[in-house]
């Protein structure tokens, strides 16, 4: 379906909505107004919930702050336009401030902390004098339903446009990356805190306009109506009922739940809250993924498209690359210069010293094997170099730059690419999107989204994933995931590539292909490589030298042939079988 038809359809819907008030029914208009406000709230909640993966139960607090900001300024005689501005600015500032503590938390803790914000804001509104306490704020009576309604249509249009925009921007992709795996997102060059903070502010700003409009239309607000627990969760329930993270999720959820609510108010004088609670409970129990993800909708010819997942949209646009050349600059090996220097690096977890006073130098164009028994500190050293951990003491110098205090995304942008021993792809994104992630997050050198996705196909072809370009990463098998890890690390355009046990579990044939890749990466593209591996036969084919770790210290460093004869290496690592071989 073309974009053009979407725009036309959207404009048509808004035009029909704009026509409704002239039919003269205040009841219909009020109902639709409530639905418009609900959509803006539900959809803006889902930017944080569905896109970034943070369950923000305090969304309604921003709605309330917007309502209070607007009503109090209007009461103070501020012009109406300025009242909206004040509401948005005040809410955004508060969202910015609370994002610092909140985003230190994840998962359940985040959900709970945000839920605790609701009673706090309610309490503040109750206790302060300027908010009018329990009496709330009463605006001078004025009939503004139609004005508020038209602004709400504008707000809804803007919300829908922002939602579509988010899907197809680097910012949107940053959110998708961090909802899957924050550490991997940082390794791909994404600065995660600003992204999280931005999306919270964006969502809070929309919620505040919704609150301002509702306050204006009702001409009365009090703490319970804008911060109460039972009302606060309605928009969230709407987004989840439809299907969080789906383009049509909030729309469908809002329509169904608003009409249901209306029915409830009309037909049931008692237990409305209980029925609403029951509805929440049933949504949570039977379809936390949403109505649109249910088989009934998915398999329906007419409405099945409503439940399309993100990767299905991508599938339509991905095409195979014309060349499987690696889109990296070919450059000769610049030997001699040190690329990486570790000086007395120590890393400890509690009393457990994982890396103990390690000093090593890796020169440009070297392929270095890093070996050692399990738990000898290989991966921890990788984690220190790629800034996943900040080392306890010692210096890590990368191409002349001290990495002390650098963030993970800095390390990535400087040219350190890494793979994970246990692959950490962005599970619900496709192979191309996974690989495109570092390409579009390279600071000043970032490629545009379309270019990144195009280039990503070439990286995928290089590691043999052409068949799976549009497959979701979590549908790949282990070997394919490891190939994806390598492609994503290469897409960081590394000067130094840290490879963590990519070959284990591969067939001898696949190991040979991989070894050839490693050699080619060094010979053709001038990439320096440190390779952690247990398979000596694989290392033997390509490494210049081997560094052996034992209990966090280096016990041998030199050409493989020499190292395997070293007494200490033989006794601590290779064991008696190796002695026989030698």
């Amino acid at each position: 379906m073309s974009n053009y038809r979407y725009w036309l359809g959207g404009a048509f819907v808004l035009a029909v909505l704009a026509f409704i008030p002239s039919t003269g029914s205040a009841y219909t208009t009020t109902l639709l107004f409530t639905m418009l406000i609900s959509y803006a709230l539900a959809q803006s909640w889902d930017w944080v919930g569905g896109e970034a993966g943070y369950i923000n139960l305090a969304h309604f607090a921003f709605y309330g702050i917007g309502a209070y900001g607007f009503c109090l300024s209007l009461l103070a005689g501020v012009p109406i336009i300025l009242c909206f501005v004040i509401a948005v600015v005040a809410t955004s500032i508060i969202a910015f401030i609370v994002s610092f503590p909140l985003f230190r938390l994840r998962g359940d803790y985040f959900a709970f902390a945000t839920l605790a914000l609701l009673p706090l804001t309610e309490l503040l509104a109750f206790n302060f004098h300027f908010t009018g306490g329990a009496d709330g704020v009463v605006l001078p009576p004025k009939y503004v339903l139609f004005e508020a309604y038209y602004i709400a249509i504008g707000l809804v249009g803007l919300t829908a446009i922002t939602t579509v925009w988010l899907i197809r921007t680097r910012f949107g992709y940053a959110l998708k990356a961090l909802r899957n795996d924050e550490e991997a997102a940082e390794i791909c060059g994404i600065r995660i805190f600003p992204a999280k903070s931005k999306v919270l502010i964006l969502s809070a700003a929309f919620a505040s306009i919704a609150g301002a409009l509702q306050g204006w239309q009702l001409s009365y607000i009090d703490p319970t109506t804008v911060f109460g627990l039972d009302v606060a969760l309605i928009p969230i329930a709407m987004a989840l009922l439809g299907g969080s993270g789906l383009l049509w999720g909030a729309v469908v959820g809002v329509i169904i739940l608003s009409l249901f609510n209306q029915l409830l108010i009309v037909s049931l004088p008692i237990l409305q809250t209980a029925i609403f609670g029951l509805l929440l409970l049933l949504i949570g129990r039977y379809m936390p993924g949403g109505l649109l993800r249910s088989a009934v909708v998915r398999n329906n010819k007419w409405i099945g498209f409503l439940g399309r997942e993100h990767d299905q949209f991508v599938r339509a646009t991905v095409s195979a690359p014309t060349t499987d050349n690696l889109p990296l600059p070919k450059q000769p090996v610049a030997t001699g210069e040190p690329v990486l220097e570790c000086r007395n690096v120590t890393m400890a977890f509690g009393g457990n010293v994982a890396v103990d006073d390690i000093s090593l130098t890796i020169n440009a164009g070297e392929i270095v094997g890093l070996v050692g028994t399990n738990g000898s500190g290989k991966t921890t050293l990788f984690n220190c170099i790629s800034k996943v951990f900040e080392q306890k003491s010692g210096e890590i110098i990368f191409v002349g730059q001290d990495l002390a205090g650098a963030r993970r995304d800095d390390a990535s942008k400087l040219g350190i690419g890494r793979t994970y021993q246990i692959p950490r792809p962005f599970s619900d994104l496709t192979v191309v999107e996974n690989i495109a992630m570092p390409l579009m997050n390279r600071g000043d050198e970032s490629a545009s989204l379309a270019d990144s996705l195009g280039l990503a196909t070439q990286f995928a072809a290089y590691v043999g994933l052409t068949e799976h370009l549009a497959a979701r990463a979590d549908s790949l098998n282990l070997q394919q995931k490891k190939a994806l890890e390598l492609a994503r690390a290469l897409a960081c355009r590394p000067k130094l590539l840290l490879v963590d046990e990519v070959a284990s579990g591969l067939t001898p044939m696949e190991v040979r292909t991989f070894v050839n890749h490693i050699r080619e990466l060094r010979d053709e593209y001038g990439i320096t490589i440190i390779w952690v591996e247990h398979i000596f036969s694989a290392l033997a084919q390509v490494v210049d030298r081997v560094i052996v770790l034992e209990q966090g210290s280096i016990i041998a460093d030199g050409p493989l042939a020499d190292v395997v004869k070293d007494e200490r290496v033989l006794s601590t690592y290779l064991g008696s079988a190796a002695t026989e071989d030698a």
Binding site: A113, P119, L120, N127, G284
Partner: protein, 292 residues
């Protein structure tokens, strides 16, 4: 300032704090074992307290007897609640599991309080039992307070020993530390989850009756109690009962003195602010430092 007033406030703070800790015990065990934040946990106390005071008003039975009656009722409720509504969610992916468990427990919260308000009315009520007052100089302690204080301490110690020594306690601790590992060692994790829900809800029944003997309860006080309980387990450490008791008493004292020295209406803010501050300083929880 008169020292006896301070002592009186401290005593009240310790009492309410002990009750908070009782609520926190159940939440802590449930969260530790099933990794579910049961938002309805405090509401169970509110509803249990309303029920207890209703039974007392109708029959004038001994509160201890009402307590023994309520423990199995809430326990069975907790078991069925987990078994039918939450356990099926474990088969879903992480996001859906988190969202689903939030919706189910919040939904239960709304249903419980609204139905309780519909049946028993929204007005606060309590168990108006009068014991004699004991006077220590100017400090007045009712025998109710003394009994409850003693009860809380004995109960905490008993519970602590039970969790340390019994088979079920060990199973709970095993599942708390490593779900998969415990399953491999033959612990039926699903069963332990459901039984922990039952156990935690049963403890709430005890807290509910004691609470209603000291303070008025209404169907809507539940969520505030859940927030307090959560603050306590974050402060005292998940699964650490003695830590929870100390944290609970600390919170009770903080609230008591805030009301006295500053203003009563700000006392409820203490737990929320404390919770946020602790979460910010120790994102992984106070008693559960980041492990690698």
């Amino acid at each position: 300032m008169d020292a006896s007033i301070i002592i009186q406030i401290a005593l009240g703070g310790i009492l309410i704090g002990g009750l908070y800790a009782l609520v926190a015990f159940g939440l802590s065990l449930i969260y530790g074992v099933a990794r579910i934040l049961n938002f309805a946990h405090g509401t169970l106390l509110a509803v249990g307290g309303v029920a207890a005071s209703g039974i007392f008003a109708a029959t004038a039975w001994n509160p201890l007897f009402i307590m023994l009656l309520l423990i199995p009722v809430l326990g069975i409720f907790g078991y069925l609640f987990y078994d039918h509504l939450l356990q099926p969610l474990t088969k879903r992916n992480h996001f859906e599991y988190t969202v689903g468990s939030v919706l189910v427990t919040v939904g239960a919260l709304l249903i419980l309080s609204d139905v309780a308000a519909w049946i028993a009315g929204p007005a606060p009520r309590n168990i108006p039992l009068r014991f004699e007052a004991i006077e220590f100089g100017d400090v007045i302690v009712s025998t109710t307070q003394a009994w409850i204080l003693g009860g809380i301490i004995v109960f905490t110690v008993a519970l602590h020993l039970y969790i340390k020594k019994s088979w079920f306690g060990r199973a709970m601790r095993a599942v708390t530390q490593d779900h998969t590992g415990a399953t491999i060692c033959g612990v039926k994790a699903d069963k332990v989850h459901a039984l922990t829900f039952a156990f935690g809800s049963g403890i709430v029944a005890i807290a509910a009756v004691l609470y209603a003997m000291l303070f008025p309860v209404d169907p809507y006080i539940g969520f505030a109690l859940t927030v307090k309980a959560f603050t306590i387990i974050i402060l005292g450490g998940i699964g650490n009962l003695v830590g929870a008791l100390i944290a609970g008493i600390f919170l009770g004292l903080a609230e008591g003195f805030t009301s006295f020295f500053w203003a009563t209406q700000w006392a409820p803010a203490i737990s929320i602010v404390l919770l946020l501050v602790i979460l910010v300083i120790f994102p992984q929880g106070f008693g559960r430092r980041k492990s690698t």
